[in-house]
Symmetry: C2
């Protein structure tokens, strides 16, 4: 049966929760007295509808039904989950919780999005505090999986179990915070960094931009896939976590941050950290952890490269510097690629996925286009080639880390038609695959076919004529 | 002409620098008195050779020549860049710098990898401190682009300019730290987080694993692509950075971290932050920033999904829960895909890249295989299908955010041969593309073709027979 979530407070955080439930097939009741609530919710929901389904290779469940309610009572009375995301003032939260407990079903989970309050503070004065816990999300709530689930001693253990199961069913990760504390876990780190950041700006050391660059080009990438301790375990190398702590322990006394209230690094604390790290990561050797880290970094940095953003924009700029110059020599096939197969191109068969051969041929044909003048500037001027047909024939397996080259030969270049044959070779000359492109020249304005501009047409004809004099490479296809 | 880098100290950091130079075509001279140096360097170099070239879609320059030297003199005397990465003790560093300045060419950049010392401390007692600066990298140095370039007042501005140009040519990002300070910028944040982390472990709030999960499933993903301030600018929403600061300003007085040495949040400091944030991000609206953030997050999380690691492993687990069950009904074509086109599938033409149609067909054929029993368990048992030939015909453009379905029909299923025809449809029934797979059954042990196992063979024959009774879908191809 369809379940119902009640969202109390529909700002950026409440809206994110609303989207997460709705897009996972839950019905949602919203209560928010703000007259702008509907507009704000629609903005968040628009972002979520656009991005959350993109994470998956299958469709999400059909969206649930969204109902905007005039009262807390109407919103919560049929709810399986009530999520409070009102402003961070304890008096306001207490008022809202009194209403929620008056009308919500007794088996509904009651979660609070509070960044800082402890669940026992929220429960003050409640008649049935057992269903109440902190369920603290991270913006954008519709994409980031982390939810800190923080019960107090008064919260029922069964309710915590139920809440965790529901969060998992929404694609989220419930991190059970076993001991309540101000600001839970993650926000304590964010607050520490925020405080140090304020000092750096105040003291004129760095601007907001410089601080952000210091984060996103360095440790931010590490932290997106491993956290602090697994990263440092690797840094300790073969000598291990204790070695790392011994190495950086003395810094605790140094002014490496303005935040000098430090714990004493006793042998007991060192042992505790080393033991926990062994439990966390001990099944992998340092070499295996390095490889995991590097594979994750390569895949994420390539993803950012595709978006031409953050560290990915740096790689694109560097690539433009080292890319081979296009010096059209049509007395032989065009060397249209020379590259290494990256880790994100392999599949469950342990070899390069068939679609990545197509990707390599697609990039190769871009190079061919560039060599006849249909380059980035030409495309920016409103013309391009669209592929009508691409065939790949697979002759041998290829693997991540292997270097490949592609030779491309123009088979036909007449009017709007362009046919190119590709041969993909391993470094020792083994033919791995062939590809055949049939493309048509288009106007990017009309999205219809048209003849190339005269300069490009002329160069294609020269190239096609020269390549026609070469042996037909398709002989090997048979 | 080939340039030469001298690497003084070949641990994890020195080895990372060595790899970065060598793989970018520089000759490298290494000095390290550790008898294990060669083995350690080879381990780092192995990781780097495997991963750095994967970031690019073109080949890196040919590797330079690595020479292991017996003295600092031999290492630095022909160097264009000298990089010091010896242990973090000022007395050791001073000894090494005395040798470097005695023998290095006067126009060589002299960089130190120190995490914490200020360049003026390194320069103490030097005759020509003008070439010396901190160039602080982040592990793994061969992948992460950030280098903090920290000059002292004694460092020559020309040398800083030269150093930044060289670092950029190596694909790195020189962050010019304008005012020297202990631990520069990034490590001050790392130290703050480390100190807070020690408290959480000491107080029994969280384990190393829980802390790492709190980071990598939440703000770590944000920080890999935007930093602290641009993220908070978005959180402030339409009301802007000042609103955000007003909202979270009071927390500075609260025990949200144990690190309580906070600056006062004066109106001047608030203005300074808001102005810097405008300069940094003011050319984009909040809506545009949200979209940039979400696109980056989707692309990175999909990259981790491909590695089945960190947040990507959570998505795969959730996807397995919501994926359609395979209930073989061969009285009609198999609905082999129903999904949204993600943002990482589009290209410079603004539409789905031709290779991603192939990717969608590749996943569709996996579903077809699963529906006849050649599923993940079958593949784990040592059998699979390899594609011999894949043809895609492109009939209409498709865009990110568009929902697509694929209908697959078995054309031939005899012995080791399997032919499948795919039709990709938009949500309103427009035929976007067709695909034709020709596959052969293989043993994953021998990597050679063989007949399917009897149970799979039987199901293929049933399916092929049923599909043979349907109209031939390839009629539409012509």
């Amino acid at each position: 049966m369809t379940k119902t979530a009640a969202i109390i407070g529909g700002g950026v955080i409440g809206g994110g929760w609303l989207a997460r439930f709705l897009l996972n097939g839950w019905d949602v009741n919203l209560f928010d007295p703000d007259p702008e609530a509907k507009r704000k919710i629609n903005a968040v929901l628009g972002n979520a509808r656009r991005s959350l389904p993109m994470l998956y290779d299958v469709a999400l469940p059909d969206e649930g039904k969204l109902t905007i309610c005039d009262t807390v009572e109407a919103a919560v009375k049929t709810a399986d989950w009530v999520q409070e995301s009102v402003p961070e003032r304890l008096d306001i939260k207490h008022k809202v919780f009194a209403q929620i407990e008056a009308f919500a079903p007794h088996d509904a989970v009651i979660g609070s999005s509070t960044s800082g309050f402890k669940p026992s503070e929220l429960q003050e004065g409640m008649k049935r505090p057992d269903a109440v816990m902190v369920t603290h999300p991270f913006n954008p709530v519709y994409l980031l999986p982390l939810i800190e689930v923080v019960p107090s001693p008064k919260t029922s253990a069964d309710m915590v179990t139920k809440a965790k199961a529901i969060l998992t069913s929404l694609g989220m990760y419930p991190l059970h915070v076993r001991k309540e504390i101000d600001a839970h876990i993650a926000d304590r780190f964010l607050e520490a960094v925020w405080r140090e950041g304020l000092w750096l700006i105040k003291d004129g050391i760095a601007t907001t931009q410089e601080i952000d660059d210091a984060i996103r080009y360095g440790f931010g990438l590490r932290w997106a896939q491993m956290g602090l301790f697994e990263t440092y375990r690797i840094a300790g190398g073969e000598a291990g976590m204790k070695h790392f702590i011994a190495q950086f322990g003395p810094c605790l006394k140094w002014p490496w941050t303005k935040l000098m209230d430090v714990p004493e690094l006793t042998p007991e604390l060192t042992d505790m950290i080393a033991d926990q790290s062994d439990t966390q990561s001990g099944d992998l050797s340092i070499r295996e952890l390095e490889r995991l880290r590097d594979d994750n970094l390569v895949a994420m940095m390539r993803a950012l490269k595709g978006q031409d953003s953050a560290a990915g924009a740096l790689i694109n700029a560097h690539q433009a510097q080292i890319a081979p110059k296009m010096t059209p020599d049509f007395t032989k096939p065009i060397q249209s690629a020379d590259r290494m197969i990256p880790v994100d191109w392999t599949d469950y068969n342990g070899h390069m996925n068939e679609s990545r051969y197509a990707e390599a041929f697609s990039e190769a044909v871009d190079f061919v286009m560039g060599s006849v003048g249909a380059d980035a500037a030409y495309i920016a001027s409103g013309f391009s080639y669209f592929t009508v047909d691409l065939s790949c024939r697979y002759l041998a397996e290829a693997h991540a880390g292997q270097r490949i080259t592609i030779e491309s030969q123009i088979i036909l270049g007449e009017g709007k038609k362009l046919k190119v044959h590709h041969r993909m070779l391993s470094q020792d000359g083994v033919l791995l695959a062939t590809g055949d492109h049939f493309m048509l020249h288009v106007s990017l304005k009309t999205r219809r076919t048209c003849d190339p501009e005269p300069e490009v047409m002329k160069r294609i004809e020269i190239a096609a004529k020269a390549h026609a004099a070469l042996p037909d490479p398709r002989g090997e296809r048979g």
